[in-house]
């Protein structure tokens, strides 16, 4: 091992890799970093994937929803001092309310249109929402404090790790299990799945399909809001924060398979690991790696790791 460390440091000139091999605690921190970043992204990406799975619309505005979540949390928790967790609930509720208006008023009319039309509309929503955010919150960068009791770090034996990040590591799987139980066990979930299979048949059976669409859109958007609210303490609410997140989410959702919740979960984990270990081992290529995974997956399984090929009853 020692010779390997020396090899990495001296022959490869790679201090990052050397530290990784040399210090188990450092490698462990990177694993936790990867998982916690992945989980935050999963919360957001799962909403995007859920919406696509049922509505068949790729919602470009999902990133803007995330940004609104962060801003709403800022207003509730910092400006009005109503507490962090109230802010998270407010972000989810706010996004739910916004999404009803957007789905009923706009998206409803484009479900049977071609994808290009849908993209144009969702992109228009992005522009409107980002300007709206600027009108409400201005262009300042805000700082959000960690919630009480989550500002420090916990001793995990091998190393200390921020409590808040550990919380994200717990919240991610909880949301995964929740969404899976919802789709597998509840009546609404079963109808949702049926809607992805054959919406006309479902309608003919007397089910209110538009209602299901609205419900799914609300749920997906609320997830973006929660993701944004939970990210706010380490990702300061600023204009433009929507643009970076939507790209990450697309990568995750496409790698995992559009419409698959488990796929988003695995995709988000892969993204986290590749980003964090990539930043340490090949720092100059940190931005390339996510897209490299995307490329490999698109060539090998264009429908994503957990998706199904078109035409097999997506």
């Amino acid at each position: 091992m020692e010779s390997l460390v020396r090899f990495a440091r001296e022959e490869l000139g790679n201090p990052g890799l050397a530290t990784l091999l040399d210090q188990p605690s450092f490698a462990f921190i990177q694993v936790l970093n990867s998982v916690s970043q992945g989980m935050n992204l999963f919360i957001i990406a799962s909403g995007l994937s859920l919406i696509f799975g049922v509505l068949r619309v790729i919602n470009f505005a999902h990133g803007a929803f995330y940004m609104f979540g962060a801003y709403i949390l800022y207003s509730v928790a910092e400006s009005y001092e109503l507490g962090f967790w109230t802010g998270v609930v407010a972000a989810a509720a706010g996004l739910a309310a916004m999404s009803i208006v957007i789905e009923r008023g706009l998206f409803r009319f484009i479900y049977d249109k071609e994808h290009l039309m849908q993209l144009l509309l969702t992109f228009a929503v992005v522009l409107i929402l980002t300007d709206l955010a600027k009108m409400i919150w201005g262009t300042d960068q805000y700082s959000v404090s960690y919630p009480d009791g989550f500002g420090g770090a916990v001793d995990l034996g091998l190393t200390r790790y921020p409590t808040y990040r550990l919380l994200l590591i717990v919240v991610g799987p909880v949301i995964l299990v929740g969404l899976m139980l919802f789709t597998a066990r509840t009546r609404w979930g079963r109808l949702t799945r049926a809607a992805t299979q054959d919406r006309e048949m479902l309608g003919a059976l007397g089910v209110n399909v538009p209602m299901i669409y609205t419900g799914v859109f609300i749920l997906g958007s609320a997830l973006a809001g929660i993701g944004g609210a939970l990210a706010a303490p380490f990702n300061s609410p600023t204009p433009g924060m929507d643009a970076t997140i939507i790209v990450d989410c697309f990568v995750i959702v496409i790698v995992g398979g559009l419409g698959s919740i488990v796929g988003s979960f695995i995709g988000a984990l892969i993204y986290g690991f590749v980003f964090n270990f990539g930043s340490v081992i090949v720092p100059n290529w940190q931005d390339v790696f996510p897209f490299l995974i995307l490329l490999v997956v698109l060539l090998w399984r264009p429908w994503g790791l957990f998706g199904r090929p078109e035409g097999e009853g997506a």
Partner: protein, 388 residues
């Protein structure tokens, strides 16, 4: 049709006529998008300078008129806007720029079009060295001054193991190089352990934070500015990074817009810089200036950006007065060696490299009794001089 043509001709004639009566300033800041947090306050300072000069009768009897364009923080957009200002609006000078990459793009247009460009904010050293030309002048500081000051603080604080973290673009790379040169002068024994380069616009710094922790540095030099710093600090604090190491930062994170916004979230052990502090009247004229900015901004605790834009306009006006002309070559000649008084002390432009001797205020950011945000104390003015 004929009627429309006549109207158009009339408008053009009018525009032509007014072009002779006024001096046109082409102003480039990010005023709408992500960068508006800097560009909007910068415009307060710009407008203040223009108002003052016009109230005193203009320059050579001609009033100043501002033509502003949004750079969107993008070099390509800034270059296009600069060209448009020159060809369409017929501006006599370009002033502004924010981000080093944007500054270099505007400077290139100024070189091609032979129009004077006064860079008020960009700090990349390239602008006044390898990419210097006859028509570019800088009233901002630069990365070598900033790096040198940081190296002095590294020496002062007795740092032994240093980690450097910079954004991966012109400013970050140049500041990193400036620090290395400064360390050779002021702290040759310091061990620079790692140099990290997160991307411009990065939001997740955990992988970098753990590398700094792993390297066991007792000092960090950085140029993460604006929201980069806010995110970095928020992510690094729970790891105890600011207890382990002293954080010496360029990028003006000591300015009040950062300290005020972060309030009690601002980390301990930060030494940083700023061009101006609303609560520090370094020069007597600062009192009046700050009051005027506060009025425009609608808050008493004002940001640092106005003074930079303000100084740029004042330098142009002084040069045009001295030259008795607004012809580009004459103004450029007049700017060389020109001295003016500013709210943060006198400034002189070096005739050789077209760089103003713009120093900065440096110091630790400390808690004060009964104040909800950090303030710099003690405040030290480090002049723009590199001691060999």
């Amino acid at each position: 049709m004929r009627y429309v043509l006549a109207v158009v001709a009339g408008v053009i004639a009018l525009a032509g006529a007014s072009a002779q009566a006024e001096i046109r300033l082409g102003v480039l800041y990010p005023i709408a998008g992500t960068g508006a947090v800097y560009g909007v306050p910068a415009m307060f300072g710009h407008d203040l300078a223009v108002d003052e000069i016009n109230a005193a009768g203009g320059v050579n009897g001609q009033p100043l008129a501002t033509f502003k364009r949004d750079t969107k923080l993008k070099p390509a957009a800034a270059a296009a806007a600069a060209k448009e200002l020159i060809t369409k609006d017929g501006v006599n000078v370009l002033i502004g720029g924010l981000s080093s990459a944007v500054g270099l793009a505007i400077s290139e247009v100024a070189r091609q079009e032979k129009v004077v460009y006064i860079a008020t904010i960009p700090k990349t050293i390239q602008m006044t060295t390898t990419k210097l030309h006859d028509h570019v002048f800088r009233t901002a500081s630069h990365t070598d001054f900033e790096g040198d000051a940081m190296a002095r603080i590294v020496a002062q604080l007795g740092i032994e193991k240093l980690c450097d973290i910079q954004l991966d673009y012109a400013y970050g790379h140049d500041l990193g190089a400036g620090i290395v040169r400064g360390l050779a002068r002021h702290a040759p024994d310091v061990d620079l352990v790692i140099e990290l380069r997160p991307k411009l616009g990065a939001t997740d710094y955990n992988a970098f934070i753990s590398q700094i922790l792993g390297a066991g540095c007792d000092g960090i030099t950085s140029g993460l500015w604006g929201s980069h710093f806010v995110n970095f600090a928020q992510q690094a604090k729970p790891f105890g990074l600011f207890e382990q190491a002293k954080y010496i930062s360029g990028g003006e994170i000591a300015s009040h817009e950062i300290a005020g916004k972060m309030a009690e979230d601002y980390p301990d052990n930060v030494w940083s810089n700023t061009y101006e502090l609303w609560y520090d009247h370094f020069d007597p004229s600062h009192v009046e200036f700050q009051k005027a900015v506060a009025e425009k901004a609608g808050t008493n605790e004002t940001a640092m950006w106005p003074v930079l834009a303000y100084i740029g306009v004042k330098f142009y006006a002084a040069a045009a007065t001295k030259a008795g002309s607004i012809e580009s070559d004459a103004v450029a000649e007049a700017l060389k060696g020109l001295s003016i008084d500013t709210p943060v002390g006198p400034r002189t432009i070096n005739p050789e490299d077209h760089q103003a001797d713009t120093g900065q205020f440096w110091g630790p950011m400390v808690k004060k009794e009964g104040v909800p945000y950090r303030m710099m104390d003690p405040i030290t003015y480090i002049p723009a001089k590199i001691a060999e």
